[in-house]
């Protein structure tokens, strides 16, 4: 049975989007919905670290101070959530993954993002290199709030936003792909919003 249209209901999503900015099936929102698969982690900065591990010549690790000493940049991006909201021109501050992986020796083809609380998501390694991904600690001009993934989260805007792990603690490079938290439960293994790759088989 097709859904009943409710007279006069439009929803909050509005914002006129410039053509070509909104992937198929998405609606532009002005607010920033908070979605979470679990309780908000509260790792104190003194205990926080970020690691690059797995099939690499030498694992790398940064404390918060070391991480914040790395060159950082401002990034403006449109973000697309698989639950159908799109937010245009979000402004972040963070460290490019290219910086974190600079000079690393690896034959790995895949990378797993892992976070406090156990969340994981998987990508081809090529999708986080070449200026496509950041580990961000700032949003909208201020520090990234815990509910939005702070102290640091991934930003991989060319894919649906579940591929940008909140509360990220590291990247594990692997020769083998390993579907992550949502990829094992129906969400598409790659997740390109422009080809509307939301679910298995899309």
């Amino acid at each position: 049975m097709p859904p009943i249209i409710s007279r006069g209901f439009g929803g909050r999503r509005r914002g006129d989007a410039p053509p070509g900015r909104v992937p198929p099936g998405q609606y532009v929102t002005r607010d920033f919905p908070v979605l979470s698969a679990g309780p908000t982690p509260r790792t104190p900065l003194e205990r926080w670290d970020f690691s690059v591990t797995g099939e690499v010549d030498e694992p790398r690790r940064w404390t918060w101070e070391e991480f914040r000493a790395l060159p950082a940049e401002e990034v403006t991006a449109d973000i697309h959530c698989v639950t159908k909201w799109t937010k245009l021109d979000t402004v972040w501050r963070g460290v490019s993954v290219d910086t974190l992986l600079e000079g690393i020796g690896t034959a790995a083809g895949y990378v797993i993002q892992f976070s406090d609380g156990g969340y994981t998501t998987n990508l081809p390694l090529a999708d986080v290199r070449g200026g496509k991904a950041w580990v961000v600690f700032g949003y909208g001009g201020g520090p990234l709030e815990p509910q939005h993934g702070g102290p640091a989260r991934m930003l991989v805007p060319h894919l649906y936003f579940w591929k940008s792990a909140k509360w990220v603690r590291g990247l594990r490079l692997q020769a083998a792909d390993e579907p992550g938290f949502w990829e094992v439960n129906g969400y598409h293994n790659y997740g390109d919003p422009w080809r509307e790759q939301r679910y298995w088989g899309d």
Binding site: P3, I4, I5, S6, R7, F9, G10, G11, R13, D31
Partner: protein
């Protein structure tokens, strides 16, 4: 006894607005006629789905405020200023309009007179809705179960169902209000957030082994549940229904 029943799978059903009534300046009760409604238990909720002409959909959950009876389902909705669904439900809906409901949902947070008591019901703002279904059912059934309803509201004017609660109170139904933002001149009642001291005074105490239902915004529910456990109530005897951060 309220528990597991074999239902058949839930599906979205058409619900037609039969009436709209303001409870307070920001709170509205909408009565729906749902043909084929299987009936519900006091404390259950429905999921509401709205579809826009361009296919956009939004879903929310609302507790059923009406006592069981017929094919009528009443939902009490708070208007949230920058909300997506509540301004539509409270401001736009007219008699004859249609939405979709899925339910009734939830055999966990329910009470029927046969379950006995004593009852301690703690409501934060619109969290009073499912507890009101219980109170209305209790009245309709002529039950004499010892029931204490503690309602936390921002102000006197914002107390939902205030007059009906005044009429129903008495006998073994005690209604206690606390006002957290402002109180009328001469107010002699509680004027603070619910805390352990207030809960100990309103009772019943843990020795009476009351059935406890707490409903409202998540921070309210967490604070009340924690206070009750601190007073010695068994966690398993406390049923909670969190509404989320805004209580919508």
């Amino acid at each position: 006894m309220a528990g597991t029943t074999v239902l058949g799978r839930l599906t979205w059903q058409a619900a037609t607005v039969a009436g709209v009534a303001a409870e307070t300046p920001r709170v509205t009760t909408i009565a729906f006629d749902v043909p084929g409604w299987p009936g519900h238990q006091a404390g259950q909720h429905v999921d509401v789905r709205l579809t826009a002409a361009d296919g956009y959909q939004a879903e929310r959950s609302y507790s059923i405020a009406s006592a069981p009876g017929g094919t009528r389902v009443e939902l009490t909705v708070v208007h949230i200023d920058d909300g997506e669904v509540s301004p539509y439900l409270t401001g736009e809906l007219r008699r004859g309009d249609q939405i979709e409901l899925r339910g009734p949902v939830g055999g966990y947070f329910v009470w029927a007179p046969g379950d006995g008591g004593p009852l301690l019901l703690a409501a934060g703002g619109s969290g009073v809705a499912p507890l009101m279904a219980m109170v209305r059912l209790r009245a309709a059934a002529g039950s004499a179960v010892d029931t204490r309803l503690l309602v936390s509201s921002r102000s006197w004017e914002e107390i939902i169902y205030r007059e009906e609660l005044e009429r129903l109170a008495g006998g073994r139904l005690t209604v206690v209000h606390t006002l957290t933002a402002s109180a009328p001149p001469g107010w002699a009642g509680y004027a603070r957030r619910v805390d352990a001291g207030m809960l100990a005074q309103v009772g019943p105490g843990p020795a009476e082994r009351p059935r406890v239902y707490v409903c409202g915004p998540t921070p309210f529910v967490e604070a009340v549940a924690e206070a009750l456990v601190g007073l010695g109530h068994q966690p398993q005897a406390i049923k909670t229904e969190r509404f989320g951060p805004t209580g919508s």
